[in-house]
């Protein structure tokens, strides 16, 4: 039969020699191999201390964005909720009152904004749907809790720190490099 490749090797069916029967030589060879592994580089990432580098398009927990003056960008248009294939997003709109211009960018804002993180599939469609650049997915992942209820993230959990009062936190959240934004507490 024609061989498909030239990598085929004939199996050696010769009876074992005495030295092979003693196993010792082969055991020594095997032990040399394991010994060499002591000097190999470990691929382990020591997780809580070290973190894996993510790709720039990694989709982690959501962040509700503010503009440079600290005003919330979200106008509660509901496009993210419509786009969400897992129906994880709910919101309630409210009208901006007199004197709240420093809090909300436009006349309408989200009074309540909740994402059920147990439903969410982190597809990022909400981020794509948003016309106001108000929601994006950060690099934070592995949220953990003892209670299912706490996985429904409220606006307080999602909002980015205010750049006017907490410039550092805002920069860290914006920098998107292994930050803790969106993590509870």
């Amino acid at each position: 039969m024609q061989a498909l490749t030239n990598r085929a090797k004939q199996v050696d069916r010769a009876p074992m020699t005495f030295i092979e029967q003693l196993y010792l030589w082969n055991i020594v060879k095997g032990m040399a191999i394991t010994f060499m592994h002591m000097f190999k580089k470990q691929p382990t990432i020591r997780y809580p201390e070290q973190k894996r580098e993510f790709s720039s398009v990694f989709r982690g927990l959501h962040v509700l964005n503010r503009d440079e003056e600290g005003k919330e960008r979200c106008t509660a248009c509901g496009l993210c909720a419509v786009a969400c294939p897992a129906e994880a997003i709910t919101m309630e709109a409210a009208e901006r009152l007199e004197g709240e211009e420093n809090l909300y960018r436009e006349e309408k804002y989200a009074a309540k904004y909740e994402i059920n993180m147990l439903r969410c599939i982190f597809c990022g469609l909400c981020e794509e749907a948003c016309p106001k650049d108000a929601i994006y997915l950060s690099e934070t992942f592995t949220p953990a809790d003892f209670n299912r209820k706490n996985f429904i993230y409220k606006k307080t959990d999602l909002l980015i720190p205010n750049p006017t009062t907490d410039a550092q936190g805002f920069a860290a959240a914006k920098g998107v490099k292994t930050n803790e934004i969106g993590l509870k507490n």
Binding site: Q21, I27, M31, F35, M38, Q42, T44
Partner: protein, 351 residues
């Protein structure tokens, strides 16, 4: 009165020695479990346990705490007394062996000469053999008392394996004893201090002894009694809590003791070549001796682990094949050749 006073000193000295050696063996066994996991990890390109304390050094303490606080389960149909006796016997037999090992030379304590050895019995090796073969009773009784077919099978394997390999072990030792002419471990060590080690005279004997020691300690590639994937952990399957801990511990103590015996008989015990025989102060010599012996033991334990994480387990027929058809004839041949040469030497190399 003076005789009585001397006896008191001897009693206290021996009690302290026994306590120190038993606690040292337990401590070594404790950290051997840690070393085993670390060595396994490093040989497999992993970091190993590194959470508890610096470099994971408190891991064995955490393991021990876990074992102690777990629930003790005695199966309903198990033979209760034998079930409790099994791990105790395994542990006792493992600890008893260290009584005849010379851990170092002689030190001076308040004008008394203290040998760093619990008992210099003139049949030291025979004693070791007797106690080591007791060790398999722990496994057998535990496996039998569990009333579980896998455990029973494991204890059968353990018994037949111990019998098969003790023969070759004994035969390899007879050759060594022909060279040394003594059964006392201290005499054997003292013969090696300043001279060549026995490994030079008995390389084949050492190889056989080492392989048989692996089998006696139930270490891979001879860990058939606790073959995880065929027998569900074998003889200690039904055990939990500290009784399981005793079994696991006795394995590591056995490993420690057989490393010590090998170092003592073939690698000069507490002898550091070119140094020990030139040390003038006996106290310094004793301390250097202990350190050297421990270094040798650590090397052997590493070798045990290195083998464990390299070689797969033998099949049962291969095990018996190796034991009866390879080891015993080799040991017999070694014994005959050694006997012939020893006889020739006594006759001043004349036929």
């Amino acid at each position: 009165m003076t005789i009585l006073a001397l006896d008191w000193f001897l009693l206290i000295e021996k009690l302290i020695l026994i306590a120190v050696i038993i606690f040292a063996s337990l401590g070594v066994a404790l950290y051997t479990t840690f070393a085993e996991r670390k060595v396994a990890a490093i040989l497999q390109d992993r970091p190993g346990p590194n959470r508890a304390g610096p470099f994971g050094l408190f891991q064995p303490l955490a393991d021990g705490l876990k074992l102690i606080t777990k629930e003790e389960i005695i199966p309903t149909h198990a033979n209760k007394w034998l079930f409790i006796l099994g791990p105790g016997l395994a542990m006792t037999a493992a600890l008893m062996t260290c009584a005849v090992v010379p851990w170092g030379g002689t030190i001076d304590v308040m004008g008394h000469k203290v040998d760093l050895q619990i008992a210099d019995v003139n049949i030291g090796i025979l004693y070791v053999f007797a106690v080591v073969s007791m060790g398999v009773y722990g496994v057998m009784i535990g496996g039998w008392a569990s009333n579980n077919k896998f455990s029973l099978m494991a204890s059968l394997r353990a018994a037949s394996q111990a019998i098969s390999y003790e023969l070759a072990m004994g035969l390899s030792l007879i050759a060594l004893l022909m060279v040394t002419g003594s059964l006392s471990l201290r005499t054997i060590v003292e013969q090696q201090v300043g001279h060549v080690w026995n490994i030079v005279y008995q390389p084949v004997g050492f190889l056989i002894f080492f392989i048989c020691a692996l089998a006696e300690c139930n270490r891979t590639p001879f860990d058939l009694p606790e073959a995880e994937n065929e027998l569900n952990f074998g003889y200690h399957q039904e055990y939990s809590s500290m009784k399981l801990g005793f079994y696991l511990f006795s394995e590591y103590i056995n490993m420690f003791i057989s490393s010590t015996i090998m170092a003592t008989m073939f690698f000069g015990g507490y002898d550091l070549p070119f140094v020990t025989s030139h040390l003038s102060s006996p106290g310094t010599a004793a301390i250097v001796g202990i350190v050297v012996l421990m270094a040798k033991v650590v090397m052997f334990i590493f070798l045990f682990m290195w083998i464990r994480w390299t070689i797969p387990r033998f099949r049962y027929d291969q095990l018996m094949d190796l034991g009866w058809k390879k080891m015993i004839p080799l040991a017999l041949a070694n014994m005959l050749v050694t006997g012939f040469i020893v006889l020739l030497k006594q006759n001043n190399w004349h036929f």
